[in-house]
Homo-oligomer: 251 residues x 2
DNA sequence: GCTGTTTTGTGCGATATATGAACAAAAGTC
DNA sequence: GACTTTTGTTCATATATCGCACAAAACAGC
């Protein structure tokens, strides 16, 4: 791509949107300037543009995003067949097992939830389509990383902040790579309270009709009611059934 | 705002993102140019910028959004306290009633779901945070419109495509305005299969501690299991309880 | 395989935007 | 209350983008 085919003002604006998160819901011009590295004048122009278009509110001091921003993410969810196709299978899985079922894809070092059928909340955080979790310690992350060439997986791990969320969390790249090999061999990934104490989950890769891994499917359960050792026996058949059925419809 | 405080390249890029939807998941440069009215050269530069940043894929012919786009909408969901605050109440409502509970806000002529606790699917469409429904025929839309001055509500209705989704759907602005007055007076809105046959719902406005309506809360149920006439009696107490509790915590 | 049609890529002048310094206004410190 | 620091805004100008016009390529119908 040529230099002139890149609209830097657009790129800067997008980076301004991404600056907002749970720890920074309301930002001043200088806040945005500092976080993004943009000049204060430029940050201001980006923010005023967002406000003018209705994507942000401005009270004279702080900017906050408005729900109109959801149109952007929704454009993806609505435009991509994958979420719509997997949803009925998630519903069925969730109903048959009494647990939460989700589907996700990889984006950088994170998995991104694209669809979910939730049962009673067991996690401390609320997962919805668009939610992100670090790939290295999530069951779907493991199967998605396992689907990559090892060098790619290593590259992602090297960019990840490998922190021990619980005593169980694998944090050494070599440990995780070894686990990915096991995942690849057995065709599923099992997580026993690596992300959060009390939560375990099992995931399988979703392949399209040409055998390429396009997403992951999982079932999460409270460790208290279903020990990790019982996950495979109890839920793997249903997961594999869904996987096989989806393989027909994913292009 | 001054002319020079507006970054038109950014605004154009955002309009390009919004061009993608369920009917147009994959778009060529000319498609985008036609739909947005942007010059082809400009549409191309916006799309190439999106691709360069990883927000879109490009196969040399068509562009498609990638899950990275979800970061943008997620910035709002994560950054806004409202979804997080209401979620536990939705979970509780959903569990107590055995039905789906949701919260939404108004964006233009649509309501936008910001949180949801779903039970078994009864609607033909899958609602998740970010999903949109026309306000005029949804129970939450009715309470949100009822909270506006009548001239504002009329303005929104005049911009809405008032179509009869079912034989029950109110489509005449005056009918709807009259219904809004009833909703305002009784403090809740009841929808009996106006959006979709077989689905009815009841909604109440959510107020912050200063009494301003900031969102709506609803419970949806299959008409077959819960006739619309029974909705108020059965679910209104729980909805009002949640509303009262949330009034304390919403600022 | 030719012709008409549509789509895509590119160079260029006119125009809009980004930049950083300078100033103004708040906010914080002592 | 005077000083320092932070924040917001404005302005001139160097730079990048826009949209047109043209060229090239892909496509469709015969």
């Amino acid at each position: 791509m040529r230099e002139t085919d890149f609209i830097s003002g657009f790129a800067k604006g997008l980076s301004v949107i991404e600056t907002f998160d749970e720890t920074r819901p309301r930002l001043s011009i200088s806040d945005v300037s500092k976080t993004t590295g943009l000049d204060r004048a430029t940050a201001r122009r980006c923010l005023l543009t967002l406000a003018e278009l209705g994507y942000a509110d401005y009270d004279g001091k702080f900017f906050a995003l408005t729900p109109k921003i959801l149109r952007l993410g929704h454009a993806y969810l609505a435009a991509t067949p994958l979420p719509t196709l997997v949803q009925p299978f998630l519903d069925q899985l969730s109903e048959r097992t009494g647990q939460s079922a989700s589907a996700s894809v990889l984006d950088g070092t994170d998995i991104v939830y694209i669809a979910r059928a939730a049962q009673k909340r067991v996690m401390s955080i609320n997962l919805t389509p668009g939610s992100r979790l670090p790939a290295y310690c999530a069951s779907m992350g493991r199967v998605l990383l396992a689907a990559l060439p090892e060098t790619d997986a290593r590259a992602i791990l090297s960019r990840s902040e490998l922190k021990a969320n619980t005593p169980n969390t694998l944090t050494k790249p070599d440990e995780i790579i070894a686990e990915l090999q096991r995942v690849r061999a057995q065709g599923y990934a099992l997580i026993d309270q690596e992300l959060e104490l009390g939560l375990c989950s099992i995931a399988v890769p979703l392949e399209n009709d040409r055998g390429r891994v396009v997403a992951a499917l999982n079932i999460g359960a409270p460790a208290a009611s279903v020990p990790a050792s019982a996950l495979a026996e109890r839920y793997l058949p249903a997961l594999f059934e869904a996987k096989a059925a989806l393989k027909q419809v994913l292009r």
